[in-house]
């Protein structure tokens, strides 16, 4: 059985001999070598620069109220949706990895994309080539716009969601793509960063559309959203929409004890989303902390496998490594091996 079939088995709810791996990385050869899944980043190229330069609706020196009043979303020269799809797709070539790997086509969701449209320029210049979102910071200006001028926020959200939907549809048309993933952060570890009203009327409405676009073409759907989805019944609502959720990042987990508590919370979450595939189990925080040993990583994986089981589970890192870090570093590689050894031993 190749990697693609193994992952499909998990999505179909069958018990695999071992859970598949996803070690997501900016280095695609490393991702291929270490895991069963490849993630294609289908982010709109022109909009990627907002992270490094600030978005077209950055409020600059204006206070939130003046900015909300003056904001005119038609001032931006919106591209044709076809043009966006074409520009995005022509930069993607994952065929060489697609032969035996499960391929996920990732679009950036409208909530994050709206925040990036409103994001101020960074206070420092990044080194060339680094535009990783964790190095950028938005000020939740879109979330506050939604409170102050909901009609403008909704117009922006709907406009951007339209593009994302077209991209998701185009991704679902690609033969070698197995799943569509929408990356769209909704929460912090404390709970939702957006109002319940926004989540119910805008977020969930559009995410249903994205998931349907995948489903209509026989592809799986997957959501990547940070934070504590256990607050406010979010996980049940999202599990109703998506086939898979990633990374179930409910709490900070920089130590072994935190990580073990986190595993217990994942096991609890399983009862709330019985049919959903969980992509989780490998906290990126500690893959690169020297103080946490490979044996301790094994303990985390062991707890997940013994308490949760292998069904509907993809053992996945919670996030890509931080900029400048790689799984090929000696310490991280030892931990990757430890994860794999634990899975092998668990299966025996």
């Amino acid at each position: 059985m190749n990697s693609r079939d193994l992952v499909r088995q998990v999505f179909e709810g069958e018990e695999p001999k071992k859970p598949p791996f996803l070690f997501e990385s900016e280095q695609k050869d490393v991702e291929y070598k270490l895991g069963d899944i490849m993630v294609v980043h289908a982010w709109v190229p022109n909009w990627g620069t907002f992270m490094a330069e600030g978005g077209p609706f950055a409020r600059e020196e204006l206070d939130r109220f003046e900015w909300s009043e003056k904001l005119d979303i038609d001032e931006y020269k919106w591209p044709e949706p076809d043009e966006v799809v074409q520009n995005t797709l022509e930069r993607i070539d994952m065929k060489k990895y697609a032969e035996d790997r499960f391929v996920i086509f990732e679009v950036l969701g409208p909530t994050e994309q709206c925040e990036f449209f409103c994001m101020p320029p960074p206070p420092i210049s990044f080194p060339p080539g680094i535009t990783y979102p964790s190095l950028s910071r938005h000020h939740f200006d879109f979330s506050t716009l939604r409170e102050i001028r909901p009609e403008k926020a909704r117009a922006l959200y709907d406009r951007i969601s339209g593009y994302i939907l077209e991209l998701a549809k185009a991704g679902a048309e690609i033969n070698y793509v197995d799943a569509i993933r929408v990356a769209d952060d909704l929460c912090s570890h404390v709970g939702p960063n957006y109002s319940r009203e926004f989540i119910e009327t805008d977020y969930l409405r559009w995410h249903r559309e994205f998931a349907r676009a995948a489903e209509r073409k026989g592809k799986y759907s997957k959501l990547h959203t940070d934070g504590n989805l256990l607050v406010g019944g979010l996980i049940e609502k999202l599990a109703d929409i998506y086939d898979a959720i990633h990374p179930l990042d409910f709490m900070p987990k920089p130590t072994l004890a935190d990580s073990l508590r986190w595993i217990d919370s994942i096991v609890e979450a399983r009862a709330l989303a019985e049919e959903t595939v969980f992509f989780t189990g490998i906290p990126i925080e500690i893959m690169f902390r020297e103080e946490v040993s490979p044996d301790q990583i094994r303990e985390i994986v062991r707890r997940l496998l013994s308490k949760h089981g292998k069904r509907r589970l993809v053992l996945s890192d919670t996030h890509r490594p931080y900029p400048g870090r790689s799984f090929t570093e000696a310490g991280a590689m030892l931990k990757v091996r430890a994860v794999k050894e634990e899975v092998r031993e668990h299966g025996q």
Partner: protein, 210 residues
């Protein structure tokens, strides 16, 4: 200040009505209401807003806007600060995520702490410097990404090395850290949100329950 006047100011803050709030404060000051009373009304409402956030009655954007309005009027009308103790707060190391830090700073000010905001991208040495200069009873370090754990530990080791550790309490927060790691690195406290940060800072200076 009478109840009605106090309620007026509180309502404007809760409604996120910046212009209305400024007008109300201006009017109260013109009629001789002491700035301290205005600050108290604002602080009371900030505590209520914070509680609503923690209880899930309101969400981050409203709390965030309220904190910025509070900070703006505090500065514009030069309302009194302090009384409880001095907190130096900053985002440690090469990190630029500041929303959480700003909200903690606003709620600490509303609770009566004098806050020295060191900003973002704060070199670890700067935290030690403010303790050396006697500018802080509490150091509050925030981090979103886990590499900052090393910078936080560096600050704690530096304070020990210079014999300054006994002069200051250290609290950490942000998405990269936990209670467990606070203990591991030798910090005095940890807070998972801005309301807990206020409670923990009160405990650190022995004035809990305020």
């Amino acid at each position: 200040m009478g109840n009605k006047a106090s309620a007026d100011i509180g309502e404007k803050l809760e409604e996120l009505d910046l212009r209305g709030l400024k007008a109300a404060i201006k009017e109260k000051l013109a009629t001789g209401v002491p700035p301290d009373d205005i600050k108290k009304s604002l602080s009371k409402k900030m505590a209520e807003i914070g509680k609503k956030y923690v209880d899930g009655e309101i969400y981050l954007p409203r709390a965030l806007i309220a904190s910025e309005i509070f900070e703006e009027v505090l500065e514009e009308f030069d309302l009194p600060e302090g009384g409880l103790g001095k907190v130096a707060i900053g985002v440690v190391g090469p990190q630029i995520h500041e929303v959480g830090k700003n909200m903690v700073a606003a709620w600490l000010r509303s609770a009566g702490f004098e806050v020295l905001d060191l900003g973002i991208l704060v070199p670890p040495e700067r935290f030690i410097e403010v303790v050396r200069e006697g500018k802080a009873d509490i150091l509050a370090m925030s981090a979103r990404l886990s590499p900052a754990i090393y910078a936080m530990s560096w600050v704690l080791r530096g304070l020990e090395k210079e014999g300054l550790r006994k002069n200051v309490k250290v609290i950490i927060g942000g998405t990269a850290v936990s209670k467990e790691i606070a203990k591991e690195m030798g910090a005095d406290s940890y807070a998972s949100d801005f309301m807990k940060a206020v409670d923990e800072c009160r405990k650190l200076i022995g004035k809990e329950g305020g």
